[in-house]
Symmetry: C2
Subunit: 186 residues, 2 copies
């Protein structure tokens, strides 16, 4: 059994990364302060600069790599519509780290905004468009992306997820139909 070392750079960077994800999720890039991240990690403020160079460097490692849509695309587009609808309407994530929520809460940031826009294009939209294929791919991918972005905004950022199950069930069904028509040419 390896005794947990009192000084362990690897464990410390990991604690900082997790604290950073939580804090960026809750506040967005600008409003999240390095002091709060350090406090949540139970770590001295200066260690953020030491291990990640800057607040920006921390953001690049804590958030940017997770913007991929790979978890969805890797299983192909069959059943894609219902899988997306289930995940975004039925699944209630209580404040858990979601990189797309970070994106929505960091749009106004002059520093983080451009990074995020670039990352989501390359990691999410381009692959989705390619997976759809055909001459209408761009239009279809845009509608899928904007519909999902709006739902994340509504449910997870503005916290307006419908209370009653019946409404959610109607929503899930309508959304499934809509996405299904968009993902697979009829």
């Amino acid at each position: 059994m390896s005794q947990p070392r009192k000084r362990d750079a690897e464990a410390t960077t990991e604690r900082i990364l997790v604290a950073a994800q939580q804090t960026f999720h809750d506040k967005g890039y600008d409003a999240a302060t390095t002091r709060e991240i350090a406090d949540r990690a139970g770590v001295n403020l200066a260690l953020i600069t030491r291990y990640f160079g800057s607040k920006r460097g921390l953001f690049e490692r804590a958030v940017l790599p997770h913007l991929s849509l790979g978890w969805f695309l890797k299983d192909g587009l069959q059943d894609g519509a219902s899988r997306l609808a289930d995940f975004y309407v039925d699944t209630a994530l209580k404040g858990q780290f979601d990189p797309f929520v970070v994106l929505l809460r960091s749009l106004s940031s002059a520093e983080a905004g451009p990074m995020l826009v670039d990352a989501i294009q390359k990691q999410a939209l381009d692959p989705l468009q390619e997976a759809i294929g055909g001459p209408e791919a761009e239009a279809r991918a845009t509608l899928v992306a904007t519909q999902l972005a709006g739902l994340i905004l509504w449910f997870r950022v503005m916290d307006k997820r419908p209370r009653d199950v019946q409404t959610r069930e109607r929503l899930r069904k309508m959304l499934t139909d809509h996405l299904s028509g968009l993902l697979t040419p009829e």
Copy 2:
């Protein structure tokens, strides 16, 4: 001919309001500084406090009253789908004041966020839901709102409006069909 007065409180407040709309549109609530607003208005910084009490007071008068969907709902829902699609896909507003863009860029703000969420519910979503009517009204209104919010995000905040007219035309048509199905029960 009334000579423009050198000292005119009414004109000054108006200049501040316009400058505030532009600045909040470009930067969101937190990132917009009172100094930049004052500069854009060609006005002394302290006048913002004098006329509006605080940055928050200025925001409440410059942005909140414009979140209504009245411009759309007043003509009823017939042709509503194509009117919305035209406006959000075809119309290219170059950085002009759009209160919904301000909302998207101010989500992370602890001060402005709650105000905006509350205002959009009462001024936009509730009226839309009532206009649609029927047992499915909430689900339908939610899908309309999230689809439009996503488009505003994509086109006007992230600046990802498709370049070529053909893609936009496809997009406009698909969106019209989709919204049409949502706004009027089939």
